[in-house]
Structure formats: C-alpha cells, structure tokens
C-alpha cells in the first residue's frame, strides 16, 4: 500500500470534529458575557499559532535534514511534507487576526489600542516595531515566504516520483537550495513573528529567550504529531519499509527536545527570578499566583513524563508508549501556549473594559470605584481564561480536526514512499 486514501470513517470523523469546533467557536462568541469576544479571539489566536507553528517546524525539520544530507528520514518525508502543508491555511488565519487589528475585531494586543499607547511611554518607545502595519507586513511576508519555499520543496519532491530516476540528483540539488534558503530565512523570521504574535500580548514585558522557548514548543509538538501519524499509517499497513529504527530516532528527538524545552523554560524563569526586576517578574508573578495549577501541570507534562518514559532504549521502540508520550506532550505544549496567551489577553481586555466603564462613569462620583472593581475581576476565576473550559476543548478539537484533515489530504495526493529519492535505500536499511 503505497498510496494513502483519505475517505470513509476517518474523513467523516474529522469533518465531525471540524463542525464541533465551529459550533464551539460560535457558542463562545454568542454565549454572552462581556469577555465573549476576547475569549473567542484568544482561542482563535491560540490554536492558529499552535498549529501553524507545527507546520512551520515540519518544514524547518525537513530543511535541516535535507541540508545535512540525512537519509534516515526520507522514508517518512511525505508525513513531514503533509504536516508542513498546514502553513497555507494557518497563514490565512493569522491574516484574519492581522486585519482584525485594523478593523477592531478584537482587543488581543495592548499596543494596538491607540489611546493606550498615547498615554504610555513604554508602548510609545516600542511603537516603531509593535504596530498594526508591522504586524500585517511580517505576517504576510514571512508566512508567505515560508509557504512559498515549502511549496517549492514539496513540488520537487513530488515531481521526483514521476520525472526522477535512479542516479539522477537534479531534484535533490534543487531541493537543497530551497531548504538552505528556508533555514536562513526561517531562523530569524520565526523569532520576529513570535515576538509579534505571542510575546507582544504582554506588551510591556519582554524576554530574549521567549522566541526560542515558544519555538521549541512548536518543534516538540511537531515531532509528537509526526510520530503519531507515522504510527497511524503503519497500523493501517502503509509504509512497510519504514522500520522501527526511524520511530526510535524520532523518539530520541522527542526525548532530547523535551529536555531542550525544559532547559529554555527554566533558563527564562531562573534569569528573571534571579534578576528580580519588577517589570520582568510580573510575568511569572501573575502565572504562579493566578494560574498555579496550569503553571506546574505544564512542567510535569512536558518534562518528567517524556524524560522518564522515553529514557530507556526499549521504550522508544514500543508503539503504545510512543503514542502515549506523544499525546501527553501535545496536550502539554497546547496548555503551554494557553498560558503564554491567556493571562496577557485577559489583562488587556480587562483594562479596556475598565477604560470604557470609566469613560461612561467619569462624571459620576463612583466612577473610580467602578473602574477599580473591573480591574479587580482579573484575579477571579473565569472558565476559558484561568483554565481551559469545554469551549476551549471544542475549539481545540475543531482546529485539530482541520489540521489533520489538511495533513491527510496532502498525504493522499502523492505516493507515501518517495521511490526515486537518492537516499531511499539508505532509509530502507536505516539501523541505529
């Protein structure tokens, strides 16, 4: 079975998931409450960046391996190509958010509020970079470039199946040029785009490790998805020549980069904790005091579990263990993104509401108290902000189904085994 067919039960299940997601998002938007719109848009941003990042990292991984003359991953390269194909749709989602900055769909970003910037010297100082035009420009230019270069890599790869032949390296050399270019551009642009999309939510705060930290979250989730899809395909009898040594190697990656993520997470935390500068510690102060459960849960899910489970050699060769760890890690990193986004978004929205209330109540005696009370709400529990509620779960399932729909659709477009790749024999006989 060299051709993946995407139909029947899997297809209808994923369509069901997408419908569930759409219903959840509509419920979030129209269920009422003063924070409904913010909850909707922050969920949208959360899932769009999470899955777009996974696509981006799949293309990044392929580029690294192609540039490094790797042979082992070639048997599974269609899976990575399929994961990367979500970048197009993810880019459109981010474009909606970028346009939303102009059209006033949402109040995700403090710096996008002209009134707030006018009275805030810190935001004024950053306004050369943190502004609507830069956000739109970076989103369009960078995601556009990623998408285009990935498309080139994919096109050469698929074309090789029909027009390539044994001993012909033409496709490989062309692919290498685009892969090397992708590395050079993606390395810098991903950091810039993470600052804009995610770090700027806490507009006053910054951390030089943030881009790496968020990027490694994407990378680990991408590996987990690749492992899950490869195991799924193998359970269907596809990819017979992909031996378990490849999954073993991906398991090593998952193990290693889980440790890498922890290293970045902890370094960021410890430097800020040690430095003890008020405007930096506020980030962790908020998260430890108001989100203690999530804060510690994320560390447990993303470090001790993959570390201890994947430590032994034989566990990386057990499919059940690999599936379990991959799912845990995906949930862990999704929650990690939740905690990156929600506290800042909530704070911005609260201030915005307080400001609006203040404007209407400015001339009454109780005006200040009303405004004060609204800000006080920040520390109270709110489903969808303090913890993910059912609507967040539904939205996640929706985006996940859409993501898998795109991935399986791309998988079904080309042969699973790239028969004419120069490295195919090496991949077949890969041995660790």
């Amino acid at each position: 079975m060299n051709q993946f067919t995407f139909e029947g039960k899997t297809r209808s299940m994923l369509i069901g998931g997408i419908i569930l997601g759409v219903v959840s998002m509509l419920l979030t938007l129209f269920a009422g409450g003063e924070m409904a719109s913010t909850r909707f848009w922050s969920n949208f941003l959360h899932n769009a960046t999470f899955f777009l990042g996974i696509g981006f990292m799949a293309a990044f991984a392929m580029s690294v391996w192609i540039t490094a003359w790797s042979g082992w991953f070639v048997m599974s390269k269609r899976v990575f190509e399929a994961l990367a194909s979500f970048m197009g749709l993810g880019g459109i989602f981010m474009l909606i958010i970028a346009i939303g900055n102009y059209a006033g769909f949402h109040h995700l970003y403090h710096w996008a509020d002209a009134e707030a910037v006018a009275g805030d010297p810190v935001l004024q100082g950053k306004s050369a970079f943190l502004n609507k035009h830069m956000y739109l420009l970076a989103t369009v230019a960078f995601v556009g470039m990623w998408w285009f270069m990935n498309k080139k890599i994919r096109d050469y790869s698929v074309d090789e199946d029909t027009n390539g032949r044994f001993g012909d390296f033409k496709h490989m050399y062309s692919t290498r040029k685009w892969a090397a270019g992708y590395l050079a551009i993606a390395g810098y642009s991903s950091a810039i785009i993470i600052w804009l999309w995610l770090m700027s939510i806490d507009a006053h705060w910054y951390s030089t490790m943030y881009a790496w930290y968020a990027g490694s979250s994407w990378w680990v989730s991408m590996l987990a998805f690749a492992i899950l899809i490869i195991i799924y395909l193998k359970s269907k009898g596809a990819l017979p020549n992909l031996n378990e040594d490849v999954i073993h190697d991906l398991g090593k990656f998952l193990f290693g980069f889980s440790v890498f993520w922890t290293y970045l997470w902890f370094s960021q935390f410890m430097l800020i904790w040690y430095g003890n500068v008020g405007e930096e510690t506020i980030y962790f102060h908020t998260r430890i005091n108001e989100y203690p459960f999530l804060f510690y849960l994320i560390i447990v899910l993303n470090f001790p579990i993959p570390f201890l489970v994947l430590m032994s050699n034989s566990n990386k060769r057990k499919m059940g263990t690999m599936v379990f760890t991959s799912i845990v890690v995906i949930i862990g990193h999704w929650l990690d993104f939740f905690l990156m986004i929600k506290p800042g978004v909530r704070h911005t929205a609260m201030e915005h509401l307080a400001h609006a209330e203040h404007a209407t109540a400015a001339h009454t005696e109780g005006g200040h108290e009303v405004a004060h009370e609204v800000v006080e709400h920040v520390s109270h529990f709110a489903a969808g902000f303090t913890l993910p509620g059912f609507l967040e779960l539904g939205t996640f399932i929706g985006f996940l189904s859409l993501f898998l729909f795109v991935v399986f659709n791309t998988l079904s477009k080309a042969a699973l085994e790239p028969a004419n790749d120069p490295f195919i024999e090496e991949a077949k006989h890969h041995h660790v």
């Binding site: 902890f266 935390f269 410890m270 904790w273 040690y274 003890n276 430590m311 050699n313 034989s314 041995h431």
Partner: protein, 178 residues
C-alpha cells in the same frame, strides 16, 4: 591459579568478512568464544546474541544519587547549617540549586559508569591481559573459538570454517582465562 584455555582464532581483513563468518558459524552451530575488533561493528551484537548492556541502569542510579546529593546538601547548608540571605531570596532558593544539581547529576552518572565499567571488567592499573594477536587492536578483525578439551577432529571443524570464510591468518594459542 587460573585455568588455561586453548583458543583457535582467525584474522580477517574486513569487518564484512567477519560478519559473514559469524553468520556461517551460527549456521553450522559452532559456539563462538569471542570476537575482537578495533571498532564497533554494526549488526554484530544480535548475531552474537548479546544482551543490551545494563550499564545505563547504573548511569541512572548514579545520576539520581548525584541529583539528591547536590540538592539535599545545598538545602542543608542554606536552610539548616548556615542560613543566609542572598539577594533578598528565601532561605531555600530552589531555582538557584537546579544548575548545580544538574551538574552533579552528570558528574556522578559519568564517573559512576566509568568506575562500574572498570570494576566489572576487572580493569585496574595492575591488570594484565594476554592478547591473542597484536593486530586485533590495529587493523584486523578476529573470530575466536574456545576448544579446550575438544577432540582433534572437532577442532578441525573450527579451523576449516575460518579458512572457508576467508580468514587471512588462522592460528591457535593457549592462554589464561580472558
């Protein structure tokens, strides 16, 4: 008093020849005493039926020991023995302990594994090892059989296998237990 062993061995020029010889040997049901090679050979372990090394378990135990030593020692110093305020932090500033805990984990695991390896293999500064042939640590690949107490006609089977599979040098040597 160590018992003497009678070893029949052959030298090969290439590791692929050695791998083939091991396969043929397994087919003929001859029990291999040991294989010597200047470098690790891919795919040799399963052919010889070697089990996975348990050295990494030792590494884990020593690593855990190192982590606990570092963490509890520092906790004892800063909390109990000599409480001191550094930079306005608490008496038990756990985040500050993590880097050192990590370093000692690696140190203990590394040294613990080396020491265990030396002890298990009986290596010390006074250890003396007889070598079958000088070139097995240089550029030759050696396949050895223990033929102590084997009748002559059976010894012949080992030698003919070594010759059949392209050994460039076949010999026997009496040596104390390796």
């Amino acid at each position: 008093m160590k018992t003497k062993k009678n070893i029949v061995f052959g030298l090969y020029d290439d590791e692929q020849d050695l791998l083939k010889a091991v396969k043929v040997s397994n087919e003929r049901g001859l029990k291999i005493y040991d294989v010597y090679s200047p470098f690790p050979i891919h795919g040799l372990d399963p052919l010889l039926g070697l089990k996975e090394s348990r050295l990494h378990i030792v590494g884990f135990i020593f690593g855990t020991l190192g982590a606990m030593t570092a963490f509890f020692f520092m906790s004892w110093i800063f909390k109990i023995d000599w409480p001191n305020v550094f930079g306005g932090k608490a008496f038990l500033p756990t985040p500050a302990f993590i880097p050192i805990t990590f370093e000692l984990t690696v140190l203990f695991a590394g040294i613990g594994m080396v020491v265990t390896y030396f002890i298990v293999n009986g290596l010390s500064m006074k250890a003396e090892t007889e070598v079958l042939h000088d070139r097995i640590s240089d550029d030759k690949f050696c396949l050895a059989y223990d033929v102590t107490g084997t009748a002559f006609e059976h010894t012949n089977a080992y030698e003919s296998l070594l010759n059949d599979t392209g050994a460039t040098f076949v010999s026997s040597k009496e040596m104390s237990d390796l």
